[in-house]
Symmetry: C2
Subunit: 204 residues, 2 copies
DNA sequence: GCCTTAATGGAATGAAAGTTCCATTAGAAT
DNA sequence: ATTCTAATGGAACTTTCATTCCATTAAGGC
């Protein structure tokens, strides 16, 4: 119900408030890693953050609010890509970055939990969608440049290529729940590229 | 805690027991569709099934147990494929079948909920994994036959091709949360096939 | 350093879900 | 039809989480 209180009056983001937020998001992530979204309660988060329960309710409102804010924080932390070299190198860098995130105990669990949260809460869904759509957009740019350089057929849909690189990794993570290895990441890049070179990603 | 009581003595799967199970699984699916796994409680399921709360606890133990049993039921209901025609036709049939399931209000929500449940419960995870691995195995056979017919390069990994066809659809469903259309399904088939023909699915 | 008030924390309250006890119902065998 | 007992259901009990009230703390302006 409560939106984070950005009142019209004076705001005090200094010292304590920031410290509380950091502790709460840390506790949120720990909770997600251990019990998933389903087991995330305001109660436990407050306790583990060493923060009053009231504060957590006032500032985040619900478990979904916590997850959404955590997602925002992760988005800000994530480093931007470096579009140097060939498409293959760029896409491999992308795929390996995704693979590392998914295979990482902490980050992988967190992402799974956020995806799970999105299935039953619109706020979390919004945070997730905007995060990934922006990410896709960024990397699509790399592909678009490659098209301009003539490495890929004219009209190739960069966003779809980027999706095609990530999709099998997330499929393994969420659906078949198999480990996601570097080999999987590299195979995914090879396959997406092979299809792209064959013109299978050219917009109709 | 309780496993479904398959005691050593006489079992009575007749009439009432089967009716209760059907009602409970129906209520479970309705609950998942409306509130997701996160909002699935034994309490509500029992109430909506018109069944005693005690019975639900005894036979299924937890929300995850309900989901796992529902998954088993869906697996049994699912029709088998018909491997006639070219690989392209077969894979398209597969992709469209998946697309229809994901786009369907009821089935799509259910699958999302099961995937979410699997992120925080090993029982649900097991049900999900075995369901999809078997499904993949079945369709991989179709691809293997195509390899024997010479439609695809020798050594092509059928399981990986099948995964590649489904992955983008599930990616859209769970990660970017975009609608999953027939066009997506057909594009996915084209791309997987293009890569397969280029030998990108040949085992190393 | 002092004052104002945004922000926090502890404790009490209320609602909802999980869990158990025991009487009742209805398959299945005779 | 009768009997046996697996299976079920109602209700009480316990725990846990969500929500609110009000006193306390500390950030930011003077």
């Amino acid at each position: 119900m409560d939106q984070p209180s950005r009142s019209a009056g004076t705001v005090r983001p200094g010292g304590r408030t920031a410290r509380v937020r950091a502790a709460v998001l840390e506790a949120t992530q720990n909770g997600l890693v251990e019990h998933g979204f389903h087991g995330l309660t305001m109660d436990q988060v407050a306790a583990r953050a060493g923060v009053g329960k009231t504060t957590v309710y006032r500032r985040w409102g619900s478990p979904a609010g916590l997850v959404a804010d955590l997602m925002t924080e992760l988005a800000n932390q994530s480093s931007s890509h470096t579009d140097m070299g060939t498409v293959e190198e760029d896409l491999r860098a992308n795929a390996l970055s995704v693979q590392r995130a998914l295979a990482d105990e902490r980050l992988g669990s967190t992402l799974q939990a956020v995806i799970a949260a999105a299935t039953c809460d619109e706020q979390a869904a919004q945070a997730l969608r905007s995060f990934y759509l922006r990410r896709i957009e960024e990397w699509a740019h790399v592909v678009d440049l490659a098209v301009k350089r003539g490495e890929l057929p004219e009209g190739t849909d960069g966003r779809e290529v980027v999706r095609a690189v990530s999709a099998p990794l997330y499929y393994r993570l969420m659906v078949t729940r198999e480990p996601v290895t570097r080999e999987d990441a590299e195979a995914s890049v090879s396959r997406a590229l092979a299809a792209a070179r064959a013109g299978a990603f050219v917009r109709p």
